[in-house]
């Protein structure tokens, strides 16, 4: 609760408290004059109570406790058990002043723990002094119990009086004792709250509550509950508080579950409770206690009431019971299950279970107290009897009756320990919890996901920058080349012309200059001609360019280093963000234990669940998706897999069956092994059922392993009876589906009579999985590797049929490009562009079907991150999702299952209209490769081509062109003749030599217009020839003709 106490709330609280203080002082003044004014006392009580509740709620626990002390005193005064002496009024005035000062300090931001503690201690001391004085002075009945105030123990019968007070305070008329039954039921929720109210009146318990960092119940809703017996929880509870409560609940339920599971495995027979066990019990009790308190504050009365009852039992177990038996542990498990159920759904109707578990608790306590009559519980037996009688008479009030018994125990056991607990001892645990709270921060998973998404974007941007750097590098290299050329030209100029230009050396005679220069000495500089000067300037410019080039190269290197560092940091950030999503298996273990217990209880079987590897951390999504399949498997195991207790006895197995779940991480895989020691799969029954269900299958020839695989088929259930738990035939296929959702596999192994073992294998990262990067019909796709069982190179003839033969098995040949009506390169038959090379075939198995998919090209293997197709396209045939490449481009992920299950000639999901329109779509954008060593020509051509709506691909020379052709398979190539490394003719030759590229139309674009070049080009396979500069229309017409 402290989590939500923000500054604003704190300021509001202080304002509210300050608002009450003058009024309280007035009340005290009035009471000083008229000590019998009950109305004023009631008013004072109300304000004190409100301060107590509000302060505790926002985390000012010391203030809450201080108010609680004063409230307790007022309770007793109103109740008539204590007189309102001037000393008492003084103590109360002192409290009001103390609270006022404390509020001032909080406002100034100076209030610390010590100050609050001091206020509390002072107030307690004041009241103690007053009560001691009163005890010494008086001989009245009330003062005979001087510590009553602080022990907070009510005498028998006080409850009724307190009810009166509450009724009075809330303006309710006092109900006559003989109210009708329906009225009782109307007030049943009231009574539950009443129990809690009693708690608040019990100062000892209150203080203990506060000790574990709990807010104190606000009793204001009390009168409303009386008038409206069934308020909708969702409506009445602040959603923020409810969310907080749920989080807190999960933590505590988890703790309870872990501790109880520990006890389940250690307590196999009755054992003495030693310190270590007591510590476990203490931890369970604390969690239950905290939950109860939190539920009461929030207003979830059912949880608070059951928590209270459960806690009483745990109190007895911790404080008074000497032994712990497996039955008691079972009872605790029942209690914890109920708590979990009502905590997750407070409106759940489980009255029978609650009554059953409550009775069980009482039975243990009464048995125990019956055998140990010498202990302090001499009143317990008859009280329990009373309580049992009451139970049978009115089942609506079991908690109250039980609580009475428990409180009576407490009454007799009340001692100074409790007082010292309140007054003297510091509250170390609360401080500890406060400190621990700072170490963690709760964050919405969607925020983490958003961060991960942004991290992905950063990676894409970085990759884009990397591409720009690569372009810059080639640009610098090109610049280098040009610079070298320029240097050569300059040195040629120097050698060839500079010297010649000097008149007397070069022999430039007869010119005017010659005449003039004769008057000068040849060594004089100004004899140089303008050409000499220009050559010098050119030299200088070249030298400058050289330095600029070096400088640029330096900058580029520095960018590269920065980029590498950035990449490192980004990787680290993404790793860390990925880890944030990781939670341990423990988060799921709790639910699995509960499912097993419930199933065991329902079937009357004795089953224990052992979980190994609970600390294993995995993505939260894995645990969430696995929860249902695992629970289903456990229910199946208990219901069908495990023999009845008698059967187990007969065959010599231990009566208590064991289901073991082992979680392991093996490299990049997460392996879950779920094994039971039941009767195993009944293969003859599976065979029989399969023969009936799948008439086309050769069931008789199937091995046990193959038969076992059938249980994952839809609608396959062996159970002849349908129970609430399992046997509806919708089971194992759902399990398989859940596992597949996580890109995992499930396997089953069984030996008759020896149990079943399921092995689930999942990739560690859910969203990421390995895939083959392939190309069909000119488009790139990812094929998840989990669907592929073999990749083969085969002879071209092997795929020119409808079926592919693999070791005698005929697999249907699936041609995605045809099925998806993708465009193929001109003249290239589907899936055979690899030509003379042996085509690659992916052999796929999706569990239900197998097939062979020839691919045009296998581009490699990638780890891909799955993304869905957005909010608009939820159902695109044959495509399950998409992955984002490093450069931000998208590659669709093939849905192999859809491809294998397609009905020939009929398109799934999309109507005929779509198919017709696809014909138009087939006219895809032309991709045109431009190979030219001139950057300007490349730019002009690329702009021109994209201006026509085509896709340009540029290559800087012949070798680059060949690489780009391989990577991109352009629809058309525009080639320059003169290019470095490999000229245009050589490229043509090379293309002709490779059947895969022979058919790509090639067009020569050159400034060489002589016929011999045209002829040569035609001979080498060029389909067109255009002279530079080209005419737009001419080029467009030619491209259209060729493509």
């Amino acid at each position: 609760m402290v989590d939500v106490a923000e500054n604003e709330i704190m300021t509001d609280l202080i304002g509210e408290v300050r608002g009450y203080l003058p009024e309280m002082e007035n009340c005290l003044l009035t009471l000083a004059d008229d000590d019998s004014n009950d109305e004023i006392a009631g008013e004072l009580h109300r304000m004190t109570h409100t301060i107590k509740g509000a302060a505790s709620m926002v985390g000012l626990l010391d203030l809450g406790e201080t108010a609680a002390v004063m409230e307790q005193a007022l309770d007793e005064i109103i109740d008539g058990r204590r007189n309102l002496t001037p000393g008492m009024i003084n103590a109360m005035s002192g409290t009001v002043k103390g609270i006022s000062q404390y509020c001032d300090s909080v406002c100034r931001g100076e209030a610390d723990e010590r100050e609050g503690e001091k206020l509390y201690q002072e107030v307690v001391a004041d009241f103690k002094e007053v009560t001691t004085e009163m005890t010494e002075e008086g001989g009245t009945e009330e003062s005979a119990a001087p510590d009553l105030l602080f022990a907070g123990i009510l005498a028998e019968g006080d409850e009724e009086d307190l009810d009166d007070i509450f009724n009075r305070l809330s303006g309710e008329e006092e109900k006559p004792a003989d109210d009708e039954d329906d009225l009782e039921s109307l007030f049943s929720s009231y009574d539950e709250v009443d129990d809690i109210e009693d708690d608040w009146d019990n100062l000892a318990e209150l203080t203990e509550l506060i000790d574990v960092d709990e807010p104190i119940a606000e009793t204001e809703p009390f009168p409303e509950l009386a008038t409206d017996p069934e308020p909708t929880l969702e409506q009445t509870i602040n959603p923020e508080l409810l969310a907080c409560f749920k989080e807190e609940t999960d933590e505590h339920l988890e703790n309870i579950s872990i501790r109880l599971n520990g006890l389940t495995s250690t307590v196999s027979e009755e054992m003495i409770i030693d310190d270590s066990v007591r510590e476990i019990l203490h931890s369970i009790r604390r969690s239950v206690h905290t939950l109860k308190g939190a539920a009461a504050v929030i207003g979830i009365d059912s949880v608070a009431a059951w928590g209270h009852e459960f806690e009483d039992f745990l109190d007895w177990l911790h404080d008074d019971s000497a032994v712990l038996s497996p039955d008691i542990v079972d009872a605790m498990l029942d209690g914890a299950d109920i708590l979990e159920k009502i905590a997750s759904n407070p409106d759940i109707e489980i009255k029978t279970e609650i009554t059953g578990a409550g009775n069980l608790f009482r039975k243990f306590i009464t048995t125990d107290t019956g055998t140990e009559p010498d202990t302090n519980k001499k009143t317990a037996p008859e009280n329990t009897e009373n309580q049992q009688d009451t139970d049978s008479e009115s089942s609506t009030l079991p908690q109250e009756c039980f609580q009475t018994a428990a409180e009576l125990e407490e009454t007799t056991a009340a001692d100074d320990r409790e007082i010292s607990a309140i007054i003297g001892e510091p509250r170390p645990e609360r401080r500890k919890q406060e400190r621990q709270g700072v170490d963690t921060l709760r964050v919405d998973v969607s925020k983490i996901d958003k961060l991960i998404g942004l991290g992905g974007d950063m990676a894409i941007n970085l990759s884009s920058f990397e591409d720009t750097m690569a372009t810059m590098r080639s640009s610098i290299l090109e610049f280098d080349g040009t610079l070298q050329r320029l240097k050569t030209i300059t040195s040629n100029l120097e050698a060839g012309y500079e010297l010649a230009a000097i008149p007397h050396l070069g022999g430039v005679t007869g010119s005017e200059e010659g005449g003039v220069t004769q008057e000068f000495d040849p060594l004089e500089m100004d004899r140089y001609s303008e050409l000499n000067i220009m050559i010098r300037s050119l030299n200088e410019a070249v030298s400058d360019l050289d330095s600029i080039r070096d400088q640029n190269a330096g900058i580029r290197n520095s960018w590269r280093r920065t980029m590498e560092r950035q990449q490192g940091v980004l990787d680290e950030v993404r790793n860390t963000m990925g880890q944030m999503r990781m939670t341990p298996f423990t988060s799921l273990a709790n639910r699995l234990h509960r499912t097993t217990r419930e199933s065991a209880r329902a079937t009357g079987k004795k089953v224990r669940l052992l979980i190994e590897g609970q600390s294993l951390q995995m993505d939260t999504r894995i645990w969430n998706t696995l929860a249902d399949p695992l629970m289903h498997m456990l229910r199946n195991s208990v219901d069908h897999g495990i023999e009845t207790n008698e059967e187990r006895k007969q065959i010599g197995k231990p009566v208590q069956a064991t289901i073991k779940i082992e979680a392991q991480r093996r490299g990049n895989q997460f392996v879950l092994r779920i094994a039971d020691d039941g009767k195993g799969l009944d293969f003859s029954a599976i065979r029989k059922k399969a023969t009936k269900l799948y008439s086309t299958m050769d069931v008789a020839g199937m091995s046990d392993n193959q038969l076992a695989g059938l249980i994952f088929r839809q609608g396959f259930s062996l159970s002849s009876k349908v129970t609430t738990m399992s046997g509806r035939g919708v089971g194992m296929d759902v399990v398989r589906h859940g596992v597949e959702q996580l890109n995992g596999t499930i396997e089953v192994k069984s030996t008759s009579g020896m149990g079943v073992t399921f092995i689930i294998r999942l990739p560690v990262s859910v969203a990421q999985f390995p895939a083959y990067f392939v190309r069909f019909g000119g488009q790139r796709f990812m094929v998840p590797m989990r669907d592929i069982f073999k990749v083969m190179r085969v002879g071209a003839a092997a795929i020119n049929k409808d079926e592919f033969e693999l070791d005698g098995e005929l697999l249907p040949l699936i041609r995605p490009a045809e099925i998806m009506r993708l465009k193929n390169g001109p003249g290239k038959p589907a899936s055979s562009v690899t030509g003379e090379e042996k085509p690659i075939v992916l052999l796929v198995d999706t569990g239900s079907r197998r097939g062979a998919i020839p691919v045009d090209e296998l581009l490699g293997q990638r780890e891909v991150v799955f993304k869905d197709l957005g909010t608009h396209l939820l159902n695109v045939p044959y495509i399950s999702g998409v992955t984002i490449m490093g450069d931000g481009g998208l590659v669709p992920i093939l849905n192999t299952d859809d491809l294998l299950n397609r009905e020939k000639g009929v398109l799934h999901r999309v109507g005929t209209e779509v198919v017709q329109s696809r014909v138009e779509v087939q006219e895809r954008v032309l991709s045109i490769l431009i190979a030219d060593d001139s950057i300007s020509i490349r730019k002009v051509l690329a702009n021109f081509i994209s201006g026509q709506g085509w896709q340009p691909i540029v290559a800087t020379d012949g070798v680059d062109a060949m690489e780009k052709i391989r990577d991109n398979e352009p629809d058309l190539i525009i080639l320059d003749i003169e290019m470095p490394r490999m000229n245009g003719f050589e490229v043509l030759q090379s293309l002709q030599a490779q059947p895969a590229y022979r058919e790509i139309p090639t067009l020569m674009l050159t400034s060489r217009s002589a016929d011999k070049y045209r002829k040569k080009a035609r001979e080498l396979g060029a389909r067109g020839f255009v002279n530079k500069p080209f005419k737009d229309e001419e080029l467009i017409a030619l491209i259209n003709e060729l493509a």
Binding site: L822, G870, L873, V876, G888, V914, V921
Partner: protein, 209 residues
């Protein structure tokens, strides 16, 4: 940059594009982004010229686009951002108006060629053309248009004879009326395009099934 969208700086100021000047597409987009951000902040749209509202009912600022020669106005409140079409990945067996998907800062969004969808264009749009990302409820999509003209404050057209322009084609069913805007001294009429009707149409939703 190989990434799909060429985005511009949202903070570029000076976005009154009502008349005069021919701002470049990046400038326009920046200005529009800015305005979208403002509209989202000020939902529901407030009237920037209250005095005029007395004479004519203000419809708030709209983004005006050109599509196959038609001028259409789209409410700024349905538009999330504007950009230039860069990389679109085609998907198999989709209708021609559904160009495929694009990656916008890690989010996958479908790309719809509005002209082809409405049947008022027969040639596919090219790389570099402007698009608007629109949203209706959960569905987000990028609509390719021919040209983004700018944003203008629109007013209810005075003529209420119900004749929505002279459109008789399919596009007409997504028109929700006429509006006027000031240009120079005179007033011009523009057709209001209803994004919600588009996104909720059966044809558009076909692939959501």
């Amino acid at each position: 940059m190989n990434n799909s969208i060429a985005h511009t700086d949202m903070k570029t100021g000076g976005h009154d594009l009502r008349n005069g000047g021919q701002p470049s597409l990046p400038e326009l987009i920046a200005a529009i982004d800015h305005e979208i951000a403002e509209v989202l902040k000020l939902q529901p749209a407030t009237n920037p010229h209250p005095d005029r509202a007395e004479e004519q009912k203000s419809l708030g600022r709209h983004i005006c686009v050109n599509l196959a020669g038609q001028h259409l106005a789209l409410s700024l409140s349905t538009i999330l951002e504007a950009g230039e079409l860069q990389g679109v990945e085609e998907l198999p067996l989709l209708p021609d108006w559904l160009r495929g998907i694009t990656n916008i800062r890690g989010e996958i969004i479908s790309v719809v060629d509005l002209g082809l969808f409405l049947g008022i264009k027969d040639k596919k749009s090219r790389t570099g053309e402007p698009f608007l990302i629109v949203r209706d409820g959960e569905t987000k999509t990028a609509l390719i248009v021919d040209k983004i003209l700018g944003t203008r404050p629109l007013y209810q057209a005075a003529t209420k004879n119900g004749n929505l322009d002279d459109h008789t084609d399919e596009a007409g069913e997504y028109h929700s009326g006429l509006a006027t805007y000031k240009e120079g001294e005179g007033e011009k009429t523009i057709t209001l395009f209803n994004i919600n009707a588009l996104i909720s149409s059966a044809r558009f939703r076909e692939l959501k099934k």
